[in-house]
């Protein structure tokens, strides 16, 4: 009886601890949002006066617009290229049994565990040795070295649950290669492809250590934030920080809705077939 009670107390403690750690995880982000609405030049707590003028300034500012477009272009290109390459990469990772697969699976994961700042510097060295001037385009390349393996891994999870029998059946029924890809493979793997794309976009959007050394004269939002944090603080830092977080949240929300719609459409189709 006593041990039953002890166990219940232990379980309650675990729940409380988990809650506390979740609060710990979100507190800094809430602090940034809080600071973005204050009026003073330098942040003080408790906050005495609230203001939204830094948001107005952010929306009017041309340099903020530049930062946004740089970050957005990088993230968009990284997403598009990564998804295509990782699609094949994931098939090689999880679907086909081939000689060299185990080695491939391990080598492809190396960049994920690699210190990103060092990777960024190595790339800087690489670009200047090859005579390439760094700009946001080289940052796309740099981001992909880290993001492509992650997207491949995410898509692989979906590929593991994909039964090649479907493809074979379609071939037997006389479908062409392209038809099989369009009608069978892509629709079945769609959830994995979409989650891969979401991760690719957001990880590129928020990346800092790789951008720092590979964007040259261009600047992404995380780079600008870092530069201002280290020297030359302005109240625009929490504001722009909040805006990028809001952007990421909005993107996730849209992606989530798209996924639900796709699932609905799919269900509708399979109902029609019955």
């Amino acid at each position: 009886m006593k041990s039953q009670r002890q166990r219940r107390i232990a379980h309650a403690l675990i729940v409380v601890w988990t809650g506390a750690v979740l609060v710990f995880l979100y507190m800094p982000m809430l602090s940034v949002v809080l600071a973005s609405f204050t009026k003073q030049r330098y942040f003080r707590f408790p906050v005495k006066a609230w203001d939204t003028r830094w948001y107005e300034k952010a929306f009017e500012s041309l340099s903020v617009r530049d930062l946004f477009w740089t970050s957005f272009s990088v993230a968009l290109l990284v997403t598009l290229i990564s998804v295509v390459l990782a699609f094949f990469g994931a098939l090689a990772f999880a679907r086909y049994d081939w000689k060299g697969r185990k080695l491939y699976q391990r080598l492809i994961l190396l960049p994920i565990f690699f210190p990103q700042a060092v990777l960024g510097l190595a790339l800087l060295l690489w670009f200047s040795s090859l005579g390439i001037t760094t700009s946001w385009q080289t940052a796309v390349f740099a981001h992909m070295i880290w993001i492509l393996p992650i997207v491949t891994l995410i898509m692989s999870i979906q590929v593991y649950s994909f039964d090649p029998v479907w493809e074979e059946a379609a071939y037997d029924l006389g479908a062409s290669r392209l038809q099989v890809l369009r009608e069978i493979t892509l629709p079945i793997l769609a959830p994995g492809i979409i989650s891969g794309a979401i991760f690719a976009f957001l990880l590129s959007w928020g990346n800092f250590p790789l951008s720092l050394f590979t964007t040259g004269a261009d600047q992404t939002i995380p780079e600008w934030l870092y530069a201002k944090m280290v020297s030359g603080y302005t109240p625009m830092v929490p504001t722009l920080g909040s805006l990028t977080m809001g952007g990421a949240a909005g993107f996730l929300l849209v992606a989530f809705v798209v996924m639900i719609v796709i699932r609905r459409v799919k269900q509708g189709k399979s109902n029609q077939l019955r």
Binding site: P28, M29, Y96, L109, F114, L121, F213, G241
Partner: protein, 286 residues
């Protein structure tokens, strides 16, 4: 020759080709270049000199052991703290929370999608003099805790904060591999709670603990933003030294040597890690 053609024609190999070629150009290439530069005389910007070990000697004889020491120490401290912090949560997620475990997973994973320096900046606001923690204490109790930011504990806090998910998720996977029936059997045979923990739970969830620890160790070892944003100038970590060698000092060979040392250390750990895990099982849950 025929067998080579046969090997190249495997569908798996052909599919692996785009990613493989990309990483060869973008990952292997730069690393080989760094390795080559590490053997060049100091402050050269071309690879046309005779190879020398000069940089390695100068790095070993100079005070770089301090930043290596800091990085190693902080990485170990981060791993230990994270093991203590996440173990109960992982247990809860694997055994207690049921459906809620998914929600906890999502909530822990979401911050990973927010830029690391925005989240670290949040800690600056919390720890700052007159910041959220100091300000609240002044307001409520009239005591001031103004020296929180730019200290070694602040850097540790940043590392623990940023790398928490990388410890938690492997632990959860490791722990969900321990069958409940084994614990019940041990209990039926008269084992105490502590015995069950030491002799059943801990050894069986060891793969997860190992993966999580090594992962966090490697990531913390090469970290840059935490010590810069939360530590100010209080300590220099190895990634910091590498950065200044490449940028301010314009000494590529020296930066390369430091990188090679850090990479070698990480690679040794990664190979150890990969020998311990079966990726098909971990990713595909087969």
């Amino acid at each position: 020759m025929k067998s080579l053609v046969h090997w190249v024609r495997q569908p798996g190999f052909l599919n692996a080709l785009p990613v493989g070629v990309f990483l060869l150009v973008g990952f292997a290439g730069p690393l080989v270049l760094v390795l080559l530069y590490s053997f060049m005389p100091p402050k050269t910007f071309k690879l046309d000199q005779l190879p020398t070990l000069e940089n390695y000697v100068s790095v070993v004889t100079q005070s770089y052991y301090i930043s290596f020491g800091w990085s190693l120490t902080l990485a170990v401290v981060t791993v230990i703290l994270l093991l203590i912090i996440t173990y109960p949560i992982a247990y809860g997620m694997a055994k207690l929370f049921g459906k809620w475990a998914t929600l906890v997973t999502i909530l822990v994973a979401l911050p990973l999608l927010i830029s690391e320096n925005i989240r670290l900046f949040g800690w600056v606001l919390l720890l700052l003099k007159n910041g959220i923690i100091d300000g609240s204490l002044q307001f409520l109790f009239g005591v001031s805790l103004s020296g929180l930011l730019y200290t070694v504990p602040a850097v540790v806090l940043g590392l623990v904060y940023v790398y928490l998910p990388f410890m938690l998720f492997p632990l959860v996977i490791g722990m969900s591999m321990v069958p409940d029936s084994l614990k019940e059997a041990a209990s039926d045979l008269g084992a105490s709670r502590l015995q069950i923990f030491w002799e059943v739970e801990l050894p069986l969830s060891m793969p997860g603990i190992l993966i999580g620890s090594l992962l966090v160790f490697i990531l913390a070892l090469g970290s840059l933003a935490e010590s810069k944003i939360l530590g100010g100038q209080v300590i220099v970590m190895i990634a910091d030294d590498i950065e200044s060698a490449f940028t301010f000092a314009q000494n590529w060979p020296k930066g390369s040597v430091l990188s090679v040392l850090l990479i070698t250390l990480s690679l040794v750990i990664i190979f150890f890690l990969f020998r311990k895990i079966d990726l098909d099982r971990l990713v595909g849950r087969r």
